[in-house]
């Protein structure tokens, strides 16, 4: 199946700063998805990123806090802005390999201190 390279793998950041997470897919995909997994919780969809248009955000998530870029069909970034300790989570990007499998990047473990 296709592969997503996600970086950074982990980071420890100061509150009030921003972090940009990158995902590179080894094939072209129409949509990419960004998920968050807070400690002890399951995965929650943040937004869907389409090339050439603004990302679509799920309820409870806003563009000012989680700006997303999708410059081409193989790459996307998610920025976590003005971070607080509540943003400490695992962030995951995802895409579909055709219609048969949704696969994930390796994840970014973010700790905000």
């Amino acid at each position: 199946s296709a592969v997503i390279s996600q970086k950074p793998s982990r980071d420890i950041c100061q509150r009030g700063t921003s972090l940009t997470i990158q995902c590179q897919v080894d094939s072209q995909v129409t949509m990419m998805f960004w998920y968050r997994q807070q400690p002890g919780q399951s995965l929650t969809l943040i937004a869907t990123a389409n090339q050439g248009s603004e990302a679509t955000y799920e309820s409870g998530f806003v563009i000012d806090k989680f700006p997303i870029s999708r410059p081409n069909l193989t790459f996307s970034t998610l920025t976590v802005s003005n971070m607080s300790p509540e943003d400490s989570s695992i962030y995951l990007c995802s895409a579909w390999d055709g219609d048969t499998e949704a696969f994930f990047g390796q994840g970014t473990r973010l700790t905000v201190v």
Partner: protein, 109 residues
């Protein structure tokens, strides 16, 4: 509102046992149901189910979907310590995955 409930939340068994993990869902515009194994950060794909009553198998793992009763099960036979992980059920709606809270499976030697 979409709802996915997995049970049990936690399960501890001995190596060699057989386990059944459950997933019930209420998701609008349901398209398919996916199962994942999560050991560290990234979930690893196991199965995608789209049709009722058709069992999918991969080695010691198997899964089936009931679209009428809105549930799925994941079976693991002859469990091994390497099966210890969190198993996630994720119905999809238009390629968006709605995750359950997961079942934490621990296999003791």
């Amino acid at each position: 509102e979409d709802k996915v409930v997995q049970s049990p939340l936690s399960l501890v068994v001995h190596e060699g046992d057989t386990v059944t993990l459950n997933c019930s869902y209420e998701v609008t515009n349901f398209r398919s149901l996916l199962w994942y194994k999560q050991e560290k950060k990234a979930p690893t794909f196991l199965f995608m189910l789209t049709s009722s009553g058709i069992e999918k198998k991969s080695g010691r793992l198997s899964s089936i979907l009931d679209k009428k009763e809105l549930f799925s099960i994941l079976n693991i036979t002859a469990t091994q310590t390497g099966d210890s992980a969190v198993y996630l059920c994720a119905p999809s709606r238009a390629q968006k995955l709605v995750f359950g809270q997961g079942t934490r499976l621990t296999i003791n030697p």
